[in-house]
């Protein structure tokens, strides 16, 4: 009996082991791949490596563009449990109409965005509603902490952080980076194991040549000018005339890059480099420099402008006042059109064209911002009968404010053409300098002697008797030139009698230049002359900027060198 029981027991045990072995064979051999994949899905969680754009700093290391991490709301339409009451509460929390939210939720599918990059408070409130089928995903959002400041330099990015304008666009390949995937192990309760790798990939940082303080001064002053002169638009640029580093660049109207997508075309236009205008008398630098280089005139060469007008190709060009006989220096100082045209006629078409090109007219400056235009000046063979009466006084040519500033910088720095730029360094996320974008060499375009002589002439423009008197700064000499130009009316295709562009371009301190500045005011009302409208803006910008940079006054009573010991 016992033997029989033992046999039954043994048989049962062996059979059970056989069944277990069979099942194990099925699990471990025949269904191994499928089951191991399933197990992997259950205990391995895959996440995208978060991609962050590099930070943009000003020249003193102040952050101008950085990243926030905000939560985006998405839904799983098939599992969404959104009754009327939940919808009403969700709409109220998100401050949106229920129909707007409903329009984003499809009837079928497993994923749909409800709202991207919610404010943290709103995200918290939505989470508290605890609606089944609504989930959150963290996304990076570009944030410009200074708002409108330097918006035309920084540019902005779209909702998916794709670069759209400014430095963001021009240096996109350095600022952005690629992501990837990271794998986490997780337990049954959803807890994840440490991945041991950084789940954030950062792009390279950019250091601009812009100074937030100077930028702020420039923007404040052109804002005041826009209000005072009820102008349509304005541009101002401040540059180091020796290096081409742009210290400030502002346009009005402007926009907040945090809401770049909703800004209008006019607000987004970087007029300082994308808009051409006829420079008017500021263009007389070409005639002046050419006549000095070609030895057509010296500062004391006399020109009879007593008639107050001159005829060229059947067209009469007049001076604002009748002056009599003027020296070459006075022609520039008083901005005599008749004198300038007379000098232009002595120079001839070819030499005017040659020096215009040498000083950068009709060529892009090469600034590292997108959208720059070249402007234009026709080659001599295309000049009309009236061109010789128009081009010497800054008509029939088109320049950008930056081109004019660059030409005047050549006088300030002793005859070199600089390359304007807004980025000084590219730095890796761990602080290593990857590229320094300073120019090693500069191209000489005019002799040092001509630059020095013309600088003295430009100084006289800001002195008593000059057109730019209102640009003078207490304590430091200014050299510069006023400009007033008519705008062509798009309706009549003729020069408008009401619309003008007023400008002033110059540098300070005149003998030891630190700042080259141009101010261009489009369509001012009430006054039109560059000496009245733009020159005071130049003065206010220069005065505050010199103080900001601690540049000593030249009329300092402590002229004797002071010796101090430590």
């Amino acid at each position: 009996m016992n033997k029989k029981r033992a046999i039954i027991l043994n048989t049962t045990i062996i059979f059970s082991f056989f069944l277990v072995s069979l099942r194990l064979t099925d699990l471990m051999i025949f269904n191994h791949t499928r089951l191991s994949e399933r197990a992997k899905l259950q205990h391995v969680k895959v996440e995208d490596i978060q991609v962050r754009r590099g930070i943009i700093f000003d020249r003193r290391g102040r952050e101008l563009a950085l990243n926030l991490e905000l939560e985006s709301l998405y839904c799983d339409p098939e599992n969404l449990n959104l009754d009327n009451d939940s919808m009403r509460r969700l709409a109220s929390v998100m401050a949106k109409e229920p129909r707007v939210i409903l329009s984003k939720i499809p009837a079928a599918g497993r994923f749909a965005w409800v709202e991207r990059k919610l404010e943290p408070d709103t995200a918290e409130k939505v989470k508290r509603l605890n609606i089944k089928g609504l989930e959150f995903l963290t996304e990076a959002k570009r944030f410009y902490p200074k708002g409108e400041l330097a918006s035309h330099i920084l540019g902005f990015v779209g909702v998916d952080n794709q670069a759209l304008e400014g430095v963001e666009l021009k240096y996109d390949r350095y600022i952005k980076t690629t992501g990837g995937k990271v794998f986490f192990e997780r337990d049954a309760s959803g807890k994840t194991l440490s991945s041991g790798v950084d789940i954030e990939a950062k792009g390279n940082n950019i250091v601009l040549t812009i100074d937030e303080g100077l930028q702020s001064i420039v923007e404040r002053e052109i804002d005041k000018a826009i209000i005072k002169w009820r102008a349509a638009a304005a541009s101002a640029i401040m540059m180091d005339p020796f290096t081409g580093e742009i210290l400030a660049l502002a346009n009005r109207p402007a926009y907040d890059p945090n809401k770049g997508g909703s800004a209008g075309g006019s607000e987004k236009r970087n007029r300082a480099i994308t808009d051409c205008y006829e420079p008017g008398s500021t263009f007389k630098i070409i005639i002046g420099v050419a006549s000095l280089e070609e030895k057509i005139a010296k500062p004391d060469t006399l020109f009879d402008v007593s008639k107050g007008s001159i005829q060229v190709g059947g067209k009469t060009i007049r001076d604002v006042h009748k002056y009599g006989v003027l020296t070459f220096k006075e022609v520039i100082q008083k901005s005599s059109n008749v004198g300038s045209i007379t000098i232009g006629m002595r120079l001839g078409k070819d030499r005017i064209y040659k020096y215009a090109k040498l000083l950068g007219v009709g060529k892009k400056t090469g600034i590292d911002l997108p959208g720059e235009v070249s402007g234009w000046i026709h080659p001599p063979e295309r000049w009309s009968g009236t061109s010789l009466g128009a081009i010497p006084i800054g008509q029939e040519v088109a320049v950008t404010p930056l081109q004019m500033l660059r030409a005047y910088s050549a006088i300030a720095n002793g005859g070199f053409l600089v390359r304007p730029h807004v980025v000084s360094e590219i730095i890796s996320p761990n602080g290593q300098v990857l590229a320094s974008l300073k120019d090693k060499e500069m191209k000489r375009i005019i002799s040092a002697r001509t630059a020095e002589t013309f600088k003295d002439i430009l100084k006289s423009v800001v002195e008593e008797g000059g057109t730019g008197k209102r640009a003078s700064v207490d304590g430091n000499e200014v050299a510069g030139k006023t400009g007033t130009a008519q705008i062509i009316d798009p309706r009549t295709k003729r020069y408008s009698k009401e619309k003008f562009v007023s400008s002033f371009v110059g540098f300070v301190p005149a003998d030891n230049p630190r700042l080259a500045i141009i101010v261009v005011i489009y369509e001012p009302k009430g006054q039109i002359y560059g000496g009245v409208v733009a020159a005071p803006v130049f003065r206010d910008i220069a005065d505050q900027s010199l103080s900001y940079l601690d540049i000593p006054r030249e009329d300092n009573p402590h002229h004797a060198p002071l010796l101090v010991s430590r």
Partner: protein, 116 residues
């Protein structure tokens, strides 16, 4: 000759159970250690998640601070004698280091070559 076999008995009596006990303790110890390490790693994972949340919050606060400290905002929020005061340039003197071990010389004329 009588063979007592006391040595072999001792081995069987003490060392065998001891060996088995050590083996069992070792196996369970290993399992316990592995499970502890796993728990620790999960805790570490959770802590990393918390760290990421704090880092996110820090980024928000930093952005807010940067925004509040912008020159424009600080200038606008202060007024009168509490606002920004530009230095009186009459009193600005630049010190240039002379060659050698000479004392510093203050110069009002030379261009400052270093950064702003």
């Amino acid at each position: 000759m009588i063979h007592t076999g006391s040595g072999r008995n001792m081995f069987s009596f003490i060392f065998k159970p001891l060996f088995i006990a050590i083996l069992l303790v070792g196996v369970f110890g290993l399992v316990y250690l592995r499970s502890s390490v796993m728990t620790l790693e999960y805790s570490l994972g959770e802590l990393e998640k918390t760290k990421m949340n704090y880092l996110r919050e820090r980024k928000m606060l930093f952005a807010e601070k940067t925004s509040l400290l912008s020159i424009e905002k600080v200038g606008a929020s202060l007024s009168g004698s509490h606002g920004f005061v530009f230095p009186d340039r009459v009193r600005v003197i630049h010190l240039n280091k002379q060659k050698g071990s000479l004392p510093y010389k203050a110069s009002l004329e030379k261009r400052q070559l270093t950064g702003y």
